[in-house]
Symmetry: C2
Subunit: 332 residues, 2 copies
Amino acid sequence: MNQTDTMQAVVLNGHGGVEVLELKTVPMPQPEAAKIRIRISTSGINRADLLQRIGRYPVPAGWPEDILGMECSGVVDALGPGVKQWKVGDPVMGILGGGGYAQYVNTDASCVVSIPENLGLKEAGAIPEVFMTAFDAIVLQMSLSRKETLLIHAVGSGVGTAALQIGKVMGVKTIGTSRSAHKLDKAKAYGLDHAILADDKWSETVLDVTDGYGADVILDLVGGPYLEGNQKAIAHKGRHIVVGVPGGVSGTIDLRAMMGKRVTLRGTVLRARSLQEKVELTESFEKDILPFLEQGSISPVVEKIFSPNEVGKAHSMMAANENFGKLLIDWE
Amino acid sequence: MNQTDTMQAVVLNGHGGVEVLELKTVPMPQPEAAKIRIRISTSGINRADLLQRIGRYPVPAGWPEDILGMECSGVVDALGPGVKQWKVGDPVMGILGGGGYAQYVNTDASCVVSIPENLGLKEAGAIPEVFMTAFDAIVLQMSLSRKETLLIHAVGSGVGTAALQIGKVMGVKTIGTSRSAHKLDKAKAYGLDHAILADDKWSETVLDVTDGYGADVILDLVGGPYLEGNQKAIAHKGRHIVVGVPGGVSGTIDLRAMMGKRVTLRGTVLRARSLQEKVELTESFEKDILPFLEQGSISPVVEKIFSPNEVGKAHSMMAANENFGKLLIDWE
């Protein structure tokens, strides 16, 4: 149990550029009933953090308004009343509604999982948000199944590299796009079957490498500009799930083509979900994905670890799409 | 067993206007293994027939290329080898891949159901396509459940009136739009809870009558022009299914809005499905919807019955959106 009552955190001083990110001393949170306090090892940086920083991502109720951060790894530091499943010192990781850019955070005791022994505390901070997002999107929601083909846009991103590894352990055919040949090379090292440079012919290339069949599931981390191509590249009864739209929020959709191929298009988001939904996802993740992390057949992909006073630099790097995999903040 | 070897049918003499519909004498089909021949009482007219007539709807393999008609009622007239579940004279109805505009048609013995005793043979021809389409779309695919709200566009159409009645027996709140006040009045007589004239404010009215909540399931029989309104009117975790696009095939979609509300959009079509899928749908329909037809809590909605030499007139009436419910061809 930590005896001090303050902590270091990167606090939003208004909304705007990276200059609003301010490392300062703030009160340490005290865990309420059914919650635990985590002493954070690392916290992951996500694209939604950049949107929240400029004031374009609402914070779910019950989470810090002024501290970014949607995931962390660390050790259990204190137990709220009624918490039985953890003890102080347990290594845990989980998604957060906010508050991750700090030395300590409170979260629901049912929204974290144990960190497998083969993984370091620090690298584990790269796991929760992207692996749960990818798993939830392609497996739980879009029912990707063995023998199907998975198309991942922005395959070098955090969620992209997670989806690629999940696809590989499932034994599906994986196709990935990126605007960077360098990232595609790195993705191939993770087993990507077909690496496609995102030029203006990528959708035809997807059809070429699938003998005209197309992709059964599309994990879309780009949005509007790829919509037309996705409609061409998707297979009969294909499912297209949108988890991010950094490329553009809207596009033209051909509903008749969707009817002809019986296509499903869905938008999804984790952060705004109810506690109950987050608990269910955490449990499914623990059952279906954690074993692969324990075996080492899936592993966190970390591009760089930053100190708390370099978070602005990390945001700039993500905004410039320079990272392959995750950027982390080190709180130890 | 009918002993003649010819029949009357409305045959496509090329593609084009209603003048290509020609009533003539053609060979009677002989049922192959696992098939039955039906002596048709009535066959329903569907909007897809109008598209097929002008050459814009491909006929699935194994069905007549030149005889329209996707559904019928009638009696079993002959059994193909191996058919055990029917006997000659049984009253049946079912969806067809084509060939319904005729005195006789062959179909798979597993793709028809018995006509309930309380229903007339003729009116039963108004049931298969629209009730199976509506049931499949809103219940089987979009998982509409009690306490939810169903928005039906073109509520006065064949599929619209079927969906309305299915919604009523499920106990959901029903909202319907139409460009015709007259059709909305008729729909109210079938229990429509909220009738909304499809002016340029219909989506706001949907939000008004749901206290801002929106529609959980949207059954879309219009398409592109309503896409923007549908995105406003859909509820959190809402499901929007497109079964027809006579109003326009495409529109602009806001993917970020879909993410925020976690919306699902799907296009669907019955006719192009595999036999296996059609058999499964027929079985589900028999189990879940037929009992309501037997009780009379759901009933076919027939606008008008035409003689075989008036099919052109029937097509024109449907093209002008003048029908409330179904138009049928009488072969008896």
